[in-house]
Structures are given as structure tokens and as C-alpha cells.
Assembly symmetry: C3
Homo-oligomer: 172 residues x 3
């Protein structure tokens, strides 16, 4: 078993990894529909700006301002998971820039929704074995948060979300 | 071409990246159904614990104990790929904690299965061009390994796998 | 707000992250069908080698040689996105090796294509709300670039792309 002082220095996560892990925690909160955990990742007057678009063109859909609005939107306004259902907001291909106590991330995201099959009343028939259900990609786009390091902790100041898919608002 | 001593120091992968790359190698072994390569990533008495569930609730499905059981399960008990088929176990949104020679990872995973179309007997008709076949997400969940650094190499002690989808066992 | 000298040292991205971010920029260029941006990530005589296969066996499909060919292929030969369509080339499970000013990456990739639904002429009906459209995985395989650091910047020397799916060439 190796353990030396060099080792201990290295095991401190880099700023880039600390920044990336804030977004990793955000995706888990989104999958748990846990607005409290999500909003705690933001500064008190943090914002979520949701756009339709990619590349140069984008159209603002709505803004959540402050931790209370962010918490409420995620806990109460997102569609709950169906029975035996779950989601995975996954992020990819990070471009991270850290300048002192400011940082930006540009990440692709894909959301997947999973639904497990229901166990038959009399148990699984012969010939079935293993995982039963469906995993479907349902959303895609980009997360572009800006972050600030406050008292040693990275917090999201503004999370820009760009959606590829059309966003429907009834009557509009 | 730049090359200096600072450069050489930086090119040593961080502990976090070394830890992440153990899981990267595990996913490739799983896609190759290569139990030998996979089990070598574990300590001799390493374990794989497979659960149904996410968040707080989880139900233990089965445990593989020791390198021999892990090797056998991956090489002989996983369903072989169909003709022109392959899989990709992909992992996302790492949360890594390293403390000296101990480490934990929490990662999301999605499994994809791909199957290429068969080339027609007389070649591809006019109008076809490019990639032919299908890629389907088939599994999702979390990998939560704990690792230990032994003689300078990170090894998996226990790999907890949480599956979202229902796991069918005939007659149960 | 914390900012000190230790902080500034840490905020320099590691060689591994710099290398990873070259591939992250490549995936964005591919999604924008922007051959200029993509070819600038390569050395002047850089190459893209495209294969069918995985694991040990692979069959060479075609090679793009030099920045001009790479730029032209991405800008003019890739299928344009449909109306309200976009793609995401996503990469996963990096194994990165850096030796001085040389580096290699082995990454899994999945391509997704998204198409948003068209807004009805008279607006969205009651009962619709949120994202409308479809996200589909369409390609999978491996990216295996080799890179070289030149004047302080990592550039791709050769990008090996392994496709899982069958590649159709009419008449062949």
C-alpha cells in the first residue's frame, strides 16, 4: 500500500474537476427532482436561463431567478417519474475555463428516461432473464454554467440551458 | 515543439484520472465480454454487487465474489453479441473522492447496443450511402466502485451496480 | 471570495484536460458541420482514418489527408441537418496517455440526432407543454486520436474513427 506526501498533494481535486462535479451534482438533483439540492448548488441570486436553439441563434424561453424559484421549479413543476421510472441527465465533452475564482463550462447534454417492466402477478415466465424495460433519449442540448468560487466552494451563478427540441407553450 | 520539465510533471495523470481510467477499462472489458481483463481490474477478493433501485431504496439481486466469479460471469454468463453487433457501456458525470490510497466513484451509466445491417448479396443498391444499422440504449443506472491503491495501481475493491430496469428471474 | 497563488497554479488545465478538450472541440465542429474549425484542430498534414470494426478486426473505409480534405469532407460531404434538426457527437470513458509532447486518446462515441416538432399553424393546443420532438442514437464506435503539442498547443496528428455499424457504398 503506497501512501506518501506526494500522493496526498495529488489527491486534492483540480479546480476543473471541482467545477465539473458541481454540474455532476446538478444532474443527479434533476433526476431526483430535488429542488433543494439543486438550488444549493447556486449562489443565492443565481439564475437558470432556458433557451431554444444552438449555435449562434437562440430564443429565450424563460428565466428562473434566485434559489427559491429554482427549487420550486425542479421540485414542483417538472413532470414526476412514472411508476418504475427514472431519468438520467447526462453531460459530455466538457470545455472548462477557470480564471482565479471564476469558471465557465460548456457541456453537451442528453436526457434519458427509463421505465422498468412490471413483474407479472405470478412471477416471470420461463425464458425471461435479465433486465426488462426501456431506456429512451428524450432531450438534448447544451449546459453552459458560469461559476464563482465563494469561501472555497464553487457555486453556479447562471446556468444557461440550450434545448434542441421545440418547446411547446399552449396557445403560443 | 515544446518540452520542458514543467511539462513532464504535468503529464503525470492525477489520482482522479487514474481512478476514472480504471472504470473506463472496465467498460471496454464489459463490451468485449472479456472476463479476464475485467477481473484483473479488481483486488483478488474483489466483489461486484448488483442491485435494482436508485436513490435511497435498493434491492440486492446478486453478488459476484472474487476474481474467478467475476471473470466467469462476464466471459460466460453475459449474452453474446449478435452477428454484426456490439455494445457500449458508457459512464457519465463522475463524482470522485480520493483519500490517500482509497477512492470512490459515483457515475451514471447507459448501455447501448448496436447492430449493423447485413450487406445485400449483390452489394448496396444505388441511393444507399454511409452507416446502416441501429443503435439502441438498453440499460441505465449507476456504477459506484470503491478502489484501493496497491503497489502504485488502483484496483476495484467493490463495484456496486444499480440498475434502473426491472430484473427478471424466471419463477420469481 | 477566495483567490490566492495556489489557486492560480491549480487553474492551469492539466495536459490530459487540454488533450480531452481538443476532442471536445472536434465534436462541436462535427455537429456544426464546420470543416474550418475541425481542420484547424489538426496539424497541416493531419489525417482522418475511418474504419469499420472494433476490438482486433478492422477494415479501412477511407482516409482524409491534410487539412483541406478534412475541411471539405466535414463542410460539404456530411449530410446537412434537417429543418429543426441537430446532432450531438458525444464521447465517453477516456483513456488518455501523455508522454511529453505526444498524446493518445481512446474514447467511445455515440452520435445522437435530434429533430424538433414543427409548431402548429395556430399555436400549440391545450394539453401540450414542454419539449416536443425526438432524439435518436444513430452511430457508435471509438475515436482514437494521436496528438502532438506544437508551440504550446495540442493538435491532432491522426484521428482513427472506428464505426460499429456497416458502411454502405453503392455497388460495393
Amino acid at each position: 500500500m503506497e501512501q506518501n506526501s506526494e500522493n496526498k498533494v495529488q489527491s486534492k481535486a483540480s479546480e476543473e474537476r471541482q467545477v465539473q462535479q458541481v454540474l455532476a451534482r446538478y444532474t443527479r438533483a434533476a433526476d431526483q427532482l430535488n429542488g433543494k439540492v439543486a438550488s444549493d448548488l447556486f449562489v443565492p441570486d443565481g439564475k437558470v436561463e432556458v433557451y431554444y436553439g444552438r449555435g449562434e441563434s437562440r430564443e429565450l424561453l424563460f428565466v428562473l431567478s434566485g434559489q427559491a424559484e429554482i427549487e420550486n421549479a425542479m421540485s414542483n413543476l417538472m413532470k414526476p417519474h412514472p411508476d418504475r421510472g427514472w431519468s438520467h441527465h447526462t453531460t459530455h465533452d466538457y470545455i472548462i475555463e477557470v480564471n482565479g475564482d471564476h469558471a465557465t463550462i460548456d457541456a453537451q447534454f442528453i436526457r434519458f428516461d427509463s421505465v422498468g417492466e412490471i413483474r407479472p402477478e405470478n412471477g416471470w415466465p420461463e425464458g425471461t432473464l435479465g433486465l426488462m424495460g426501456k431506456v429512451t433519449p428524450t432531450e438534448s442540448g447544451y449546459y453552459q454554467p458560469t461559476l464563482q468560487k465563494i469561501n472555497g466552494e464553487w457555486k453556479i451563478v447562471t446556468l444557461v440551458i440550450l434545448h434542441d427540441l421545440t418547446f411547446a407553450i399552449p396557445g403560443k
